[in-house]
Amino acid sequence: MAGVSAAVLTGFAVVVAALLGLGAASAVAPRRIAALGSLGACGVGFVLALAYLLAGAAPATLAVPLGLPGSWMTLALDGLSGFFLLVLSAVGAAAAAAALEADADATAPFLPVLLGAMALTLLAGDAFALVLGLELTSLAAGALVLMRHNDSAALLHIGVALPGAACLIAALALLAGGAGGDFRFAAIRAHPPEGWPAVFVLVLALLGAGAKAGLVPLHGWLARLLVAAPMHVSALMSGAMTKVALYVLVRLLFDLSGPAQPGWWGAPLLVLGAAGAVLGALRANMADDIKAVLAGATVGSVGLIVIGLGLALAARGADLSTLAALALGGAMLTALAHGLFGSLLFLGAGAVHQGAGSRSLVRLGGLIHRMPVTTAAVLVGAASLAALPPSAGFAGQWMLFQAVLGGPRIDGFGLQTLVCVVAGLLALSAALSAAAAVRLLGVAFLGRPRSPRASAAEEAGQTMRTILIALAVASGLVGLFPGGVLSLAEPALRRLVSAGMADRAGLLAVAPQADLPGYSALGIALILALSAGLVVWLVRARAVPGHRFGPVWDGGFGPPPAWLPFGDPLTQYGGASFAQPLQRVLGAALLRARETVDMPSPGETRPARIAVAMEDPAERALFGPLAALRPRLVVLADRCWLPGIRRTLAVVFAVLVFLLTVVAIVEQF
């Protein structure tokens, strides 16, 4: 067994090295090699991860002669990293295959680097490798967007990623300090933090990993980066990069901080996760760009996963290990499900952009007639986003709901009330996601075309269609067999919360407790299919067959003039009008949405216009003060730049005195 693990780990090390080398090589070699090589590496990685998880996921470590002077870098593999490597390689394979379809542009060399860096993060066995991998991930992601000359999104990303990295390094330094300066994970695990250092680790890990995962309030950059990146890169970022950051959060809070942390650790995660789930889903309803819609949904799903992590922490602190396993299993299932359907939707958005020439809901419509395969695949993804049974999204959210319903078993009035509120917010987020999914599908793919370009949309190419269908099938399989996915997560659950789902999650059903009935995806699918068969049979037997076509009845509107071949566009509901009820009730409260109506007086010939302005509260609260600080920093920097000889000498003298004082104080101890 250990032999398998060591071999798999070595294999992964080779894959990471190959990916990083491929990035360097493809800067000079033909660009297509980068995509093809990444696809191959991800395929190998998928097989390795699956074999490792099926073989029982025995932990293994490997020392690599790289890294800080005088020490070797440690790579490690356990159930948790194995599961996330599975997610990464599945999403990465789809993204790399889609990169074949995309234009081979200057961004090509960074795709294998991004993949390799993420794999390195997941394989890290010490703090150095973790930081190296995560920072390489951020830089590669920033470079991918910067190469497309979308500077503001890339700079915002780097601007959030750097303080995030600082927080993570500080958290890891605190952990390593507790272990006597040894920053290998095995040593840290043996000396978990206690007291105030542990609280600092929690805060710093939330800030650091949260900044990289797009957790509220540090989610603004993610939405912009996902919109700015090319489609296969957004798919990879949404499906895998956020999950890698969440893996780091799990690694720090569940594994390295030890099993003895108090239950209130879950509370901040619950609050932030619930805020993210609602805010992301609401933003998905308000956006006009379909990629911005999906970016909002990504922020929402990160929030959902963090809710699951928070519940697992709270339950583990209260020694309810079965509940903790349910919550953590739900979070991991949601992570895999969103990895698949999130990348499916982003690639679908890319296909729409290529085929219909726009990503704006205002310019799309009626694509179901011109792009039937893309529409069908997106339909599967949207069903998952809307958490409709028996999709993968429903299975994940069902487990999260069950974990929330078990929440009141954790003692403490404050936490019980919090769990009740989180339950409501979880449902609100699910319903908002469903509205966003219906809006995306209904406005972009159904109805009449809103622009001539959309009316002449072309179906995606053969490669793209194959990828979309493969992702839809994979997503459907996860939805039908959530128990199978949970059996892959079993080693991680046993390791982190010392209980698994094996006694409760079989091929047929997943149950919250061993002796209770639960959710059977196959059963629900079967009943649905039987009901549909019954209905079709009844209709066949009773009703008149066939149908006729006639002009559409549009509430009494006359036939449109010849120069409006698709009817008057203004009589059709669009993205903004669909979202208006939600925008007036929730958007006004949460996103400060304000409508300005410009109504011409009678007799004027200009059209009436309505404009909606909204801003994210987190961005206002965080970046507003920072933006105000900038001019002052510039003045300060100017002063430091040209201080004059006297001031320079004074500064040098002051620094010298300060350092000597520090040395003197340190000498005292």
Partner: protein, 319 residues
């Protein structure tokens, strides 16, 4: 033997659902007419309407897609699947192990999303209006529904409807006050989900006030028949659900004696009839509500749901 019995129960349940649903809609309509001083159509009128519609060939809009044609079937199948999970006159049907309340809510959401998509498919103003309102109202109704489920799960220790109905039937559940709050929240959700007054009026002709009717406006023939049947089945489902949870007495279980079995069906019929009368009385008594005030009503339901869940959690913590 028990397997056979549970399958037979399911078959009888389904047959009753399919035949009774339009009749129940007819009873509500007739009672409402009588209360408003009109003669009212006979209670079998909805059945006749369905037969009339099935005899007509549907006329589709020129730009209707396959989704538009398939939506009525999918919506009806999802509602029927949900209805097959809700125990009516007897517990222990073959579908009992699957009867998870979250799954039932999910199947109803599937039907709702499908019809909303169909409303957007022909690109008409009224269809889009209906879809937008339907999804927006659901965004407020869903949290209330989940909090009701939360309360029930706290009481019964499971989200399985058969287990909940069983626990409430034994009367060992716990305090009644949170249950009452949950009932109020659930009634609001049921009114919104079924498009009844004061939120919606199925017979409305003014498009500004339409929600459900707007979604069906582009349909005709057998498609419209399916949509009408879906609405009737959904009403029956909700009334059965409310009866199963809040009026749990008189249902038969596989262990019950012969007398309970003989009485179970009439008792179920009485419960449904009583609830239908109450609904008609309520609808005849209230005035329609402005669309933008509906979130206030559903927000109140959410508040009641939170209150019920928190009270029960605290009570269980003290006990």
């Amino acid at each position: 033997m028990t397997t056979l019995l549970s399958l037979a129960l399911l078959a009888v349940h389904l047959a009753l659902l399919l035949t009774l649903a339009p009749v129940l809609a007819g009873i509500v309509r007739w009672t409402k007419s009588r209360l408003m001083g009109r003669v009212g159509a006979p209670v079998f009128q909805p059945w006749r309407d369905l037969q009339r519609l099935a005899r007509k060939q549907p006329v589709l809009a020129e730009n209707a897609s396959w989704l538009f044609r398939g939506a009525p079937t999918i919506a009806f199948a999802a509602t029927l699947a949900a209805a097959a999970l809700v125990p009516g006159f007897a517990l222990g049907m073959a579908t009992a192990p699957l009867a998870d309340l979250l799954a039932i809510a999910g199947l109803l959401a599937l039907a709702r999303c499908t019809l909303a998509l169909a409303g957007l498919d022909t690109g008409t103003a009224v269809g889009g209006l209906g879809a937008s309102r339907e999804m927006s109202f659901a965004a407020f109704a869903e949290p209330a529904m989940l909090l009701v489920i939360f309360t029930l799960a706290l009481l019964a220790g499971s989200t399985n409807l058969d287990a909940i109905a069983g626990a409430l039937r034994e009367g060992t559940a716990g305090p009644l006050f949170p249950l009452g709050l949950a009932l109020l929240a659930m009634l609001a959700v049921a009114i919104a989900g079924n498009g009844r007054a004061p939120i919606d009026n199925r017979a409305a002709l003014a498009e500004t006030g339409m929600v459900h009717a707007a979604l069906a406006l582009a349909y005709s023939g057998r498609h419209l028949a399916l949509i009408e049947a879906t609405a009737a089945l959904k009403l029956l489902l909700w009334l059965t659900l409310i009866a199963a949870i809040f009026l749990p007495f008189g249902t038969a279980t596989p262990e019950s004696g012969l007398l309970v079995w003989l009485l179970a069906l009439p008792v179920w019929g009485l419960k449904l009839g009583g609830l239908a009368m109450a609904l008609a009385l309520f609808e005849a008594g209230v005035a329609g509500m402005r669309v933008f005030r509906v979130p206030e009503l559903l927000g109140l339901a959410v508040l009641l749901g939170v209150l019920a869940a928190v009270l029960l959690a605290v009570w269980q913590g003290l006990a």
